[in-house]
């Protein structure tokens, strides 16, 4: 993992930590080897040498085990002040009352049109949510339309919905021999299993190309077939390793989605690794097994008040899973960068827990009618905790006008044109 950039290749090079922007001077660059490791004195980020600077091979160096010492750079240069620009923050400005009004009008129109307005309603809500999200003071814009969402729905129905419904209907309506019945059910399961990754990639592709900031569109250029391979292999290995591979799979999925996303002609990078979320995941997984095992044991042995152990599920597992979610979100965003700048998430499990508890109370107290306010609370929290630190020259980002990058190529054209049908 490299969290620093070397500024010049002379013997006294400067290093900037990407996470906290502390600057250091490396005393003896020529002594750096591939095995050299150090940490940032301010934030503890790990430094590693990716490529030795000197042409001399490591064997020629007199002392291979010697660590080049890194000392804080006392002399800020003009370059330093430029890169020490304040972090760029994201914010959400929407209001629950407006959202409720929009939902009521949408509901009325959806009922009158017997559900046909649904897609246009969805596009309207999304346009509102995007228009009320800002980054560095500028609003995002959503360019998707109800017609496109409707076409996407038809496309998904054609490719997945009809086969799935036909196979399920065969099971309930026809009296088939058991092995054909079993086969058709397995096929229906397979169709659904494959639908999920295709929907994930295409929803992202659609949403990215329909989102802009300062007039520049986002895009997603990952190929569906690649994600499908990653997904099938990931689940396969996860099942083989009894779930322990899951954090690696999850991180790979995130890496694929983040690192194939572009803003204009500039790509997002993802440097995370499964080992980064392994500990929280393992803790949560084993605690879950332990609690469920305890509940099962108490119920099986018919102990007095065995039902009380079931309370452990919401009161112990609930916070634990929220903690895992917070850890994952933080890790994924903290390892996403854009050019020279790095994203940073201020999510803590305490704040996340407060958010969810508040949402639950709001919904229960109003029998669900506070739902628009819950949307606003969530958006405000998740968007508000995000910031971009480091120097990023936004003026250098250009619109990407090559349309071929948006649509897929060859056989996968049907799947890669992007559709979006989840909520």
């Amino acid at each position: 993992m490299t969290t620093a950039a070397l500024h010049d290749a002379t013997s006294a090079a400067r290093v900037t930590c990407h996470r906290c922007l502390s600057r250091y001077r490396v005393r003896a660059v020529e002594q750096l080897t591939r095995a050299s490791r150090s940490t940032c004195a301010t934030c503890g980020a790990r430094f590693a040498v990716v490529e030795p600077l000197s042409s001399a091979s490591p064997e020629d160096l007199p002392s291979r085990h010697h660590r080049p010492s890194v000392v804080p750079d006392a002399s800020p240069t003009s370059d330093a002040t430029a890169s020490m620009s304040p972090p760029l923050r994201a914010a959400f400005h929407g209001m629950g009352g407006t959202l409720l009004g929009m939902h009521v009008v949408n509901l009325c129109l959806t009922l009158i049109t017997l559900g046909g307005y649904h897609f246009w309603a969805k596009a309207k809500i999304r346009r509102y949510l995007f228009s009320h999200t800002s980054f560095a003071g500028d609003r995002f814009a959503y360019h998707g339309t109800g017609k496109e969402l409707y076409q996407g729905f038809l496309k998904a129905m054609l490719v997945f919905g009809i086969p799935y419904c036909a196979l399920s209907a065969a099971h309930t309506l026809l009296d088939l021999p058991p092995w054909i019945d079993l086969l058709s059910q397995a096929l229906a399961g397979l169709v659904f299993f494959l639908y999920v990754p295709v929907a994930i990639v295409n929803a992202r592709r659609y949403r990215c190309t329909r989102t802009s900031w300062r007039g520049i569109r986002f895009s997603f250029r990952g190929r569906t077939a690649d994600f499908l391979k990653l997904y099938v292999r990931g689940w396969f290995v996860t099942i083989l390793t009894l779930g322990t591979y899951y954090p690696y799979f999850h991180t790979q999925r995130q890496a694929f989605l983040h690192s194939h996303t572009y803003f204009g002609d500039q790509r997002f990078q993802f440097t995370g690794h499964g080992s980064g979320v392994m500990v929280p995941f393992a803790v949560t997984l084993f605690a879950t097994y332990a609690v469920l095992g305890l509940c099962g044991f108490a119920l099986a042995m018919q102990l007095t008040n065995a039902g009380l152990t079931l309370l452990l599920i919401p009161f112990v597992l609930g916070p634990l899973w929220i903690w895992l979610l917070g850890q994952k979100q933080r890790y994924f965003w903290n390892h996403t960068s854009f050019g020279e700048a790095r994203f940073s998430s201020a999510i803590t499990w305490q704040r996340l827990f407060t958010l969810y508890l508040g949402n639950l109370i709001l919904l229960l107290a109003t029998l669900g009618w506070a739902w628009p306010w819950v949307t606003v609370r969530n958006a405000r929290f998740f968007i508000g905790t995000l910031s971009l630190q480091g120097c990023v020259d936004l003026d250098r980002i250009m619109q990407d006008t090559t349309d071929a990058s948006v649509t897929g190529e060859g056989l996968s054209n049907l799947l890669d044109t992007g559709f979006d049908m989840d909520a």
């Binding site: 400005h93 929407g94 209001m95 407006t98 009004g101 939902h103 009521v104 009008v105 949408n106 509901l107 009325c108 129109l109 959806t110 009922l111 009158i112 017997l114 559900g115 649904h118 309603a121 969805k122 809500i125 346009r127 509102y128 228009s131 009320h132 500028d138 609003r139 814009a141 360019h143 309506l173 009296d175 802009s212 900031w213 300062r214 007039g215 520049i216 569109r217 204009g264 919904l363 229960l364 109003t366 029998l367 669900g368 009618w369 506070a370 739902w371 819950v374 936004l394 003026d395 250098r396 980002i397 250009m398 619109q399 006008t401 909520a423």
Partner: protein
Amino acid sequence: MSTARTAHYLDGRSATRHRVTLTISPVALQIAMPDGSSKQWPYGDIRQTQGIYRGEPVRLEFGPEPAEAVVVASRALLTEIHTAAPGLAQHFHNPSWRTTRLAWTLGAGLGVVLILIGLYRWGIPGIASAATPYVPTTWEESLGRKIVEQLAPEPQQCRDPERLRKIDAVVQTLAATHPSSPYRITLSVVDNPGINAFAAPGGQVVILRGLLEQTTSAEQLAGVLAHELQHVYLRHSTRAILEQTAGTLLLAAVSGDLSGGLAWGLQGAQTMGSLHYSRTHEEEADIEGLRMLEAAHLDPAAMIAFYGTLQKSEQDHAGPPDFLSTHPDMGRRLATLLALAGPPPTDARPLLPGEDWTDIRSLCRVQATRRSGPDAAALP
């Protein structure tokens, strides 16, 4: 009239924001660029994509995608354009319509409430009634077979052929009142102490031993059977399935975007709705069952008497309140039947004359002793 406003200009090619000055003329928006040049955007070619809702900056786009855009923080710009070029600016949002829009929103809210009440009361039952005749009876029969296999499996059925034939005669007397019906009514008795009976779609009627033993005459059983047969003839199960489907589809259409809380609330409303429809079906089966007894020249008094017995046994344990129940309150059902029954018919025929009902109704016991008899003898 023409006031100058500062705005941000985006050229659609780079992410650079240019600070520009906007001037409103009667035909076009004039943009003074920082380099001294200027642009003219005729109002008719400008698209407004943001600035309709409160707290949103106004965004005006121009030209083909990727479009050029100007972003202005204040919505006063829109008011100024509407004043300067009233004819050309109709496609821009007018901030002065805010109260009108609020009124429309409230109207829409009222409309939603009225539509939902209408659908719940008439729409969904109407759709179900209209669609029911198109459901083939063979489908009902195969569904009914599956249900009976589940709830009354063969080994649990009491099959004493002699007594079962007599009970079946009661069923056929009632079924004779619907000679043109496509359903062939078959009856099975299950060895279960529960006081209940049910009709599966397609014509299979199941009675539990407990209910059979509560009846004091064949006429009382006929009362229960008349109710259950009406569920078959009126195709209540099929209608319930269609009502459930229509309700689910409606819910999906309405709640497509509402995840979480509101969806739960609507789910609850749907359950309440299906309970309401179920109670309606029960009332219908009671009333039509009574008519059926009269058509079969049987005295409805026996049915009413048996409902009275059921009411007494129900009073021992408190049931759920009426609105949470699948069946209407027994007292109300009895009152409805009493009001409809009228004077006892003069041409009333006795059912199974000369037969001992207490012997017939004990068919499960007979079977049980017969089954356990040889086994008991084999024991030392």
